[in-house]
């Protein structure tokens, strides 16, 4: 049971978003720019960063909702998503994406954990300032979303297929003007 009275039947962040729509609007607008708007990082790469950070924070709802979206955009299977969570350095992703995930992992621990060397490595592998900025902000934002979801003890469907099945419709609808009741 959630720590406060939330509208019933809405899993994860949807309950708190329905509880306080004026804050939800800005959270969704932020997610739209970070994860969906025009960017040299693909939507799949950005959702994968969100998934990875949510996994590190042990947030079941976020890592599966965004893992489903990453899987949809990357046209991969759940094993691939899980391989990134288990050991991203051994996963079949580019060296540049690994360097960005390493930065995201440091941000998850604490902003000061990001080292000049990590940033230098990412730049040598072709990462732009904007890509580094967005990686840090995506990682930071999911440290917020994960805490919002778990800090209020919201419930989440345990069947991971639930999230896979919703991903295509969620990808098409986007985050802006998000309706938590759908």
């Amino acid at each position: 049971m959630a720590h406060i009275n939330l509208p019933e039947g809405l899993p994860g962040i949807r309950g708190p978003m329905a509880f306080r729509p004026d804050a939800a609007k800005h959270l969704n607008d932020l997610a739209e720019v970070l994860l969906r708007s025009e960017n040299s990082l693909t939507r799949g790469e950005r959702e994968l960063i969100a998934t990875y950070v949510s996994h590190l924070n042990d947030c079941f709802f976020c890592q599966n909702a965004h893992g489903g979206l990453a899987q949809h955009y990357l046209q991969c299977d759940m094993q691939f998503i899980d391989s990134v969570k288990v050991n991203m350095n051994a996963a079949e992703i580019s060296a540049k994406l690994k360097s960005l995930l390493a930065i995201a992992e440091s941000v998850q621990k604490g902003g000061k954990e990001v080292t000049p060397r990590q940033v230098e490595t990412a730049k040598l592998l072709g990462a732009t300032d904007l890509e580094i900025h967005d990686t840090v902000l995506i990682a930071a934002a999911f440290c917020m979303f994960n805490r919002y979801v778990d800090g209020l003890a919201t419930w989440a469907p345990r069947d991971r297929e639930f999230y896979i099945n919703r991903a295509k419709a969620r990808a098409e609808a986007g985050y802006a003007d998000y309706n938590p009741y759908n």
Partner: protein
């Protein structure tokens, strides 16, 4: 020096939102809703929660600036801010505020740290759903802001007078996106 090429000489999050106003405007709108729009918690109390979480995350810029804003808003009782930052257990704040600060500190570590007993303690001292929700989201949001500010190694002033000026600006002008440097 910051990890990316942000405007020089501009401190903290201001330099980051000037680098990327598309995300910055939603971050400032979120801060405005959370810290200034109507809530059962006063703006002074909400700024105090923000400063306390930032202190726990060791983010000097956010801690000092939001502490300064909270002092401004508390007026003659401004010293409570420094008491809370030193030790919330002995600070001259209500039992309800102590219980909410405890919840905020748990959220800062990880959302799952918040227990039903923490929530019950807050309710026993008069906290209602909205107090708890807003506390959790403010703590979660500052777990983002702190990581954003430090994860990109933005400029952190060490002169307390600079923060006092910031505190005045935050309580008069509020959370308004700075104009880009030409």
């Amino acid at each position: 020096m910051a990890h990316i090429n942000v405007p020089e000489g501009i401190p903290g999050i201001r330099s980051l939102v000037m680098f990327r106003p598309d995300t910055g405007k939603h971050l400032y709108d979120l801060a405005h809703v959370l810290l200034r729009e109507p809530s059962p918690l006063t703006p002074a109390e909400r700024e105090l929660i923000a400063a306390y979480v930032s202190s726990g995350n060791n983010c000097r810029f956010c801690m000092s600036s939001h502490a300064a804003a909270s002092r401004e808003l508390f007026g003659e009782a401004g010293h409570v801010v420094d008491c809370v930052l030193a030790d919330p257990g002995t600070a001259p704040v209500s039992q309800k505020m102590k219980a909410l600060l405890n919840i905020a500190n748990k959220v800062r570590k990880n959302g799952k740290e918040v227990t039903p007993a923490d929530i019950l303690e807050a309710r026993n001292h008069g906290a209602e759903d909205r107090d708890i929700h807003d506390t959790v989201l403010i703590a979660a949001a500052f777990s983002m802001f702190n990581r954003y500010v430090d994860g990109l190694a933005s400029l952190t002033p060490t002169d307390e007078n600079i923060y006092a000026e910031m505190g005045k600006r935050m309580t008069t002008i509020g959370y308004v996106l700075p104009q880009p440097v030409k």
